[in-house]
Symmetry: none
Subunit: 241 residues, 2 copies
């Protein structure tokens, strides 16, 4: 288990061992770890070395110590960066739904003042404008309009859109997606949305505006979505510092 001859420090071997046990649910949230003295005896190493290992696990958010009681596995692994930037397609798959689209319109047009400003492109530059209904398990989930500058994302077709825009950008164009800035607000459906999303009058919807940037900082997408509030909740993880 612990190889004293290995060039890998002993304390680090122990860190990895305990991490693995937590990930494999051998040690579950709330469980007590063996005591420091016990680890020291078991592996015939110094207690200070055990301490060094556990201190690292504490700093990494895996466990916490309780004076006079023991060391316990934490509830939520803070470390897991599972909650990153995802597309609708990825988002729905993660939630266990089968995502699909109903295309309403796909066209190339000149950017309006508003859109050009958002995407930081010249007024009147060409953009793709895509409007579609987003479905999850064939149920309408959201109405979405997307604007993409033609000179940044080239060769866009309806087929690409049916698959996954993000996948196309990363796999086919070889561009790295960097970050996104989103604004979320609450609203009431208008008449058009009522019909398209099969909602009654006065139903609440979640408005999400998203600006997405490539890793080099160029904006490549501006999206306005209206999600059915009865079917969709937006989840995020955030951390201090």
């Amino acid at each position: 288990m612990i190889d004293k001859q290995s060039p890998i420090p002993i304390y680090f071997q122990l860190v990895e061992k305990i991490q693995k046990e937590i990930e494999q649910a051998i040690l579950k949230p709330g469980d007590v770890l063996p005591s420091e003295r016990e680890y020291a005896d078991t592996y015939d190493i110094s207690r200070m070395t055990v301490r060094q290992a556990i201190t690292k696990l504490v700093n990494d958010g895996y466990v916490h110590r309780k004076k006079g009681t023991g060391t316990f596995v934490n509830e939520s692994k803070i470390d897991q960066p599972l909650q990153g930037l995802t597309s609708f397609t990825e988002d729905m798959r993660e939630r266990g739904f089968v995502p699909s689209n109903r295309m309403l319109s796909f066209q190339v047009r000149e950017a309006s003042d508003y859109i050009a400003g958002k995407l930081n492109i010249a007024l009147g530059a060409q953009v793709y404008e895509i409007e579609r209904i987003r479905l999850a398990d064939d149920q309408p989930m959201a109405l979405e309009t997307t604007w993409v500058p033609c000179d940044v994302i080239t060769g866009l077709t309806e087929e690409v859109i049916y698959d996954s825009l993000y996948n196309y950008i990363e796999s086919k164009l070889g561009l790295a997606i960097g970050s996104a800035s989103q604004v979320i607000e609450s609203s009431i459906v208008n008449e058009r949305e009522m019909n398209l999303l099969s909602l009654p009058e006065g139903a609440p919807v979640l408005l999400i505006e998203r600006m997405t940037f490539l890793a080099d900082g160029r904006p490549f997408e501006f999206v306005k979505s209206r999600y059915r509030a009865d079917r969709y909740r937006f989840r995020i993880q955030m951390s201090r510092s």
Copy 2:
């Protein structure tokens, strides 16, 4: 300088001493700290104790170590909680509003099944339940109910709440806030909210549920907020990977 008889641990006295020197610019960014052995000699303490102090400073982002070279003061610690996890108070200040509260109720009670489950505490354990109206520039912005387990956050008073809970936890209790998980959804005001938030019937509100965790993984706060959709938009930044 270092008092071995003090109940304050030696390593911690050293941490504070070095922190002060950095804050008072006696040690400037880029400067080398005295070596571990030098500290040990100067204050006649063990090198391991010095090491413990410096390790804390490394974890807190004050300094970094360079093998075979020395320990250096980091560049100015950028105040970073910006796009991260912020309280209502911090959030509003950032947006240029003056935040305030109108307390509706403040009590200690037994956790309901639902709340105990959320906060991962024993059923019937004591929690603070705080309900208040959040104001920005004296205009009602949100209705918020907060549950805080008594055994995790001790000594909570109305005065503390009027100031800032997060500030109290970090400054007074010395606990580090770790991460939060939020769920955002859209809804329509109910009658009670209508009156308290001065909204017309059928107005949309943004529901935000937040679970907040200490750095050690313990949940310390569960909040349900209802924001006026006409005044509040939720902004987030996220990045890939």
